[in-house]
Amino acid sequence: MREKIEPGLPVNLWGMDFDYGTVLVSVLCALILILISALVTRRLTLVPGKWQVVLEGVVGAFDGMAQEAFGEKRGRKFLPLIGTLFLFILLANVIGVVPVPRLEIGGEVYEDLNGNGHFDGGEPFTDAAWGEKGRRDGGFLLPAWEEPTKNLNVPVGLAIFFLLVAHVSAVRVRGVWSYLKSYGDPLFFMAPLNLVSKLAGAVSVSFRLFGNIFGGAVIMIVVSNLLASVGIPVALAGFFGLFVGVIQAFVFATLNMTYIALEVPETD
């Protein structure tokens, strides 16, 4: 359980700050998903094994939902995208439940007397933790083990990507003119309002995910500071980490699917 909200450790590249903890954990989520899928689908059998049943259930459920939204042929086309989105968000939401301590590898801790963040020589070595006073000379601090979706950039990035998917596939399916005409619906001067309502979906869907995960994390930190060892934090992690995480992943994937389906008309 984390004691306080720690800012990410930004890595400055090309004039932008990258939170490498978020990047590392989300790449790890993707690798775990690839590994699980590869392992489970290595030996497919007609009578499915235990893990095959689980994966088939997930794929089957999203297959049904995609076909309901897009129609039979196009539903299969969008199924990998929507299914992967759900699985990735699901794993990204619940991965914070796994307790991983924040490790510091190598180097020696010294007391940063003048507070400049560098080892100047003459500063005593201590056992103080990484923080206000203790600084590590050399070595490497592992990033905080946090849900990637707790960082607003991840839901916003995904929402922008799916906004692009929706509008690019709308242009490809309906043609440029028919797509542009949908902005003047029902009358041409409604165009600004239509534009806002198309963007509002992406805003609400990303902030819903971020707010739920971030709010849950803050509540867990507050409660575990109030009662350190009563075991209630475990129940809270079950509720905010697992229950809310699964539901918000489902909501995020379903809503993005519906936003695409609204732009792309059903043909068959």
């Binding site: 309901e68 979906g201 805003v203 609400s204 902030f207 819903r208 707010g211 709010g215 489902f250 519906t258």
Partner: protein, 161 residues
């Protein structure tokens, strides 16, 4: 006359309290209404309980959005309101809390009405489940957009005051 930095803190705390308190009012009434209608529907369509339950959870998550936006503004007001002093900054922070909190009442109740009626409709016509769900999503998205306007204005008030 207290100094203005103190006033800014007072305004931020007032705004955060109002935002999250009002943000609890709407998103509590709305999803509660949805749950009630969904349970009635489940008692009528015993064979379709799973589908109605799924629609209820989706609808409740939708009507809860305004509360989550109020929560985010509350966090920003408490932890990350930025520097600055003066009566105008205090008024901006108070206004941000008022805006998102009051919007959450209407959006939460309105969305709850929409999603609750969708659950009832799905229980009455289980064959048209997909169409009802799509109409529910579009309807709630439209009714939510005003709440999102309030949220955007709140963020602008905090960031650019």
């Amino acid at each position: 006359m207290p100094d203005t930095e103190f006033l800014v803190t007072v305004a931020a705390y007032l705004g955060a309290g109002y935002a999250v308190g009002m943000g609890a009012l709407g998103p509590a009434v709305g999803p509660g209404y949805t749950a009630g209608l969904a349970q009635e529907g489940m008692s009528r369509q015993v064979m379709r309980q799973g589908a109605i339950f799924r629609m209820m959870v989706l609808g409740q998550a939708l009507s809860q959005t305004a509360g989550v936006l109020a929560l985010v503004i509350g966090f920003v007001l408490i932890f990350a309101r930025g520097g600055g002093e003066g009566l105008d900054k205090a008024a901006a922070l108070l206004g941000a809390g008022f805006s998102v909190g009051t919007a959450a009442v209407g959006v939460g109740i309105g969305n709850g009405l929409s999603t609750g009626m969708a659950c009832a409709a799905a229980a009455r016509h289980p064959k048209h489940f997909g169409g009802i769900q799509q109409a529910m999503l579009v309807g709630t998205a439209v009714s939510q957009s005003t709440g999102i306007y309030a949220f955007v204005i709140s963020l602008l008030l905090i960031l650019y005051s």
